[in-house]
């Protein structure tokens, strides 16, 4: 087994820890956080009220996901400390969203100062670019090709919703598109989790 074989094996072992739908659940929750505020704000709630109403839903779901991971998935897969190279990649991945947010804030500030550019920044571009950058970075650093697809899907949801809004004239088309995609991801997460539970039994010593 040469170095490339060992790298492939390491990648396979690492990705096996994400086969239970953790990433899909996380993506679904991320989309819910976009979809529910859009739905609430179009139902007459203010922006802050919409965000505050969504927060508990997202928090509860996130807690559920982490509890499932801690008490259901990890006991079945075992605990592993990966090699320093892999840990470095993961820490780089954490930096990317932070840098994206900082860059977004700077660009947003510059654009908001310029009236002719303002409509671009508050429009669709951040909703397309941010998921593509974050998911692209995750795909690259975690060696998981499917995350490129997820990034493209999440990045396209917002413009698709906007487009469908022009075709199906309804004020709820955009949130419905985002929420539909969110539930698709949550559904995928559930299917992956069920398949995982069928494959792996909790070991008895």
């Amino acid at each position: 087994m040469d170095t490339s074989d060992q790298k492939n094996l390491e990648r396979r072992v690492f990705t096996s820890f994400f086969q239970a739908g953790f990433i899909e659940a996380f993506t679904g929750i991320f989309l819910l956080q976009l979809g529910f505020p859009a739905l609430f704000s179009r139902s007459g709630f203010g922006d802050w009220e919409s965000a505050l109403l969504t927060l508990p839903i997202a928090l509860i779901l996130l807690i559920v996901v982490f509890l499932v991971r801690k008490f259901v998935i990890i006991p079945r897969l075992g605990r592993v400390k990966f090699l320093p190279e892999r840990r470095r990649k993961i820490s780089k991945l954490i930096i990317v969203p932070i840098l994206t947010l900082i860059a977004g804030a700077i660009v947003g500030y510059i654009f908001s100062e310029n009236a002719s550019l303002r409509h671009i920044f508050v429009g669709q571009i951040p909703f397309i670019l941010v998921p593509i950058i974050v998911f692209g970075a995750a795909a690259y650093f975690l060696d998981m090709k499917r995350l490129y697809v997820y990034g493209a899907v999440v990045g396209l949801v917002f413009p698709l919703g906007k487009y469908l809004e022009t075709v199906i004239v309804s004020r709820n088309t955009l949130p419905a598109t985002i929420l539909f995609t969110a539930f698709v991801f949550l559904g995928m997460a559930t299917v992956f989790l069920v398949a995982f539970l069928r494959k792996y039994q909790e070991p008895r010593v």
Binding site: M1, V13, G78, R79
Partner: protein, 131 residues
């Protein structure tokens, strides 16, 4: 031609002596599998190995003991959430033994592949005299 035949015989003898020098502790499929999966992580627990190698608890436990006795792996028994938890780590000695085994096997396979290729070339060219 005799020279080539002698060279071939010498190669076979060298290969055989190399085979005899293979670390038998590593060579067993179960132990090789354990070492392989431990070589791609810094440390992992018994459940991780159980899932990845597909061995039974008894088989895994017996082979872990043998590798531990040889000083190839380090076993730490601890309690996590009031449950026993066995953590395994490849030692420097184990890592070296694993890499030596890999290199030896690769060398042996390369020699054998070359020999087979040479024989194939001789068969296809039909020039028996040059072989």
């Amino acid at each position: 031609m005799k020279e080539l035949e002698n060279q071939g015989k010498k190669q076979t003898t060298d290969s055989l002596s190399e085979i005899m020098n293979i670390d038998r502790l590593v060579h067993s499929p179960a132990r090789l599998s354990i070492l392989t999966y431990l070589s791609v992580v810094e440390e992992g627990d018994a459940v991780y190995l159980l899932n990845q190698t597909g061995l039974t608890w008894g088989n895994l436990s017996a082979n872990i003991t043998r590798l531990q006795e040889a000083g190839y792996i380090e076993v730490v028994k601890e309690f996590k959430d009031k449950k026993p938890h066995t953590l395994l780590k490849l030692t420097d000695r184990g890592r070296k033994a694993f890499h030596d085994y890999q290199n030896k096997m690769r060398g042996l396979l390369d020699v054998q592949t070359d020999r087979v290729n040479n024989m194939d070339n001789c068969d296809t060219s039909g020039a028996r005299e040059s072989c």
